[in-house]
Symmetry: D3
Subunit: 67 residues, 6 copies
């Protein structure tokens, strides 16, 4: 019954990769915590780089200056 | 003053339906918990089916195999 | 399959009231959006009044000055 | 290491304004709580006005009736 | 730089198990999406069973009737 | 009408510091985005260091080894 929310920057992750993440997290919670995979929910949110800040600046700005 | 976040799969819910959900949740919290509707916030987030996983696979994949 | 997160101030809501909220939100999403109640998840988070701000001040401070 | 999630209505906020918000929140948490800006994450989510409810109605509806 | 929020029912998960979940999710996001583990944040939230609803009733109620 | 959620590690932040954060974030969103402070909500969540992971390990573990 766990609920997992994964936020990543929106940079073209494929459906296949998303499916791998969903499968992997679900398996991990089953193996480590004994959680039932049938009711494990995983939601992936893709955030534009303008809207994601770290170190006081946006990821867009960091990428531009090569950080 | 409650804050309600509702996540659903992104499958063409109309503005009218969203308005009904907003009105209904606000009324419920007033009736059950005595919360002031004026400051009750309800946010609906629509998530692509590729990004929503349950049972270890995406909703897209489940739909394809008729689950 | 919806996921609902409800944040309220931590002020002694009983288990019975919480159960009413869970049942009511689940029913609403079934009636309005046709969502399957079996996979509808509702999580209630209770937040201390010191940690909840509105209008630039904490709920604790507002209560003290009778707002 | 704080994580900050800011939800606002989706109404054309510029990248420059978003950058100001990211910088400002990061600085505030450093000044008030002594948090390391290098690991402070700020995520801005822009929500369509149809999906944001307050007072039991959507922001779209409120705007239409001049509220 | 991903941010992962995991909500589980509050039922005595040990620090060791939590550490395994943190390590496992971080490794998965590195392997599948190439994310830098140094800036991957994982937050585990433990929710009382009274506050977690599924199928229209609380987990507390489900456990009581043996569901 | 913005909604701000701030997650920090649970390490004894005083009510006064929390009030400063609430006031500061509310003021910032008014100055930068023109948001109405009366309806700006700020919620602070304090997370145990066992439940907060970064770099693949918990903050508890990092503190122990002096990271």
């Amino acid at each position: 019954m766990p609920f997992v929310n994964i936020k990543i920057t929106n940079e073209g992750v494929t459906s296949e990769k998303k499916a791998e993440v969903i499968a992997g997290v679900t398996r991990l919670l089953q193996q480590v915590l004994g959680k039932n995979p049938a009711t494990t929910v995983v939601i992936i949110e893709e955030v534009p780089t303008d809207n994601w800040g770290i170190g006081g600046e946006s990821v867009t700005a960091r990428r531009k200056r090569g950080a």
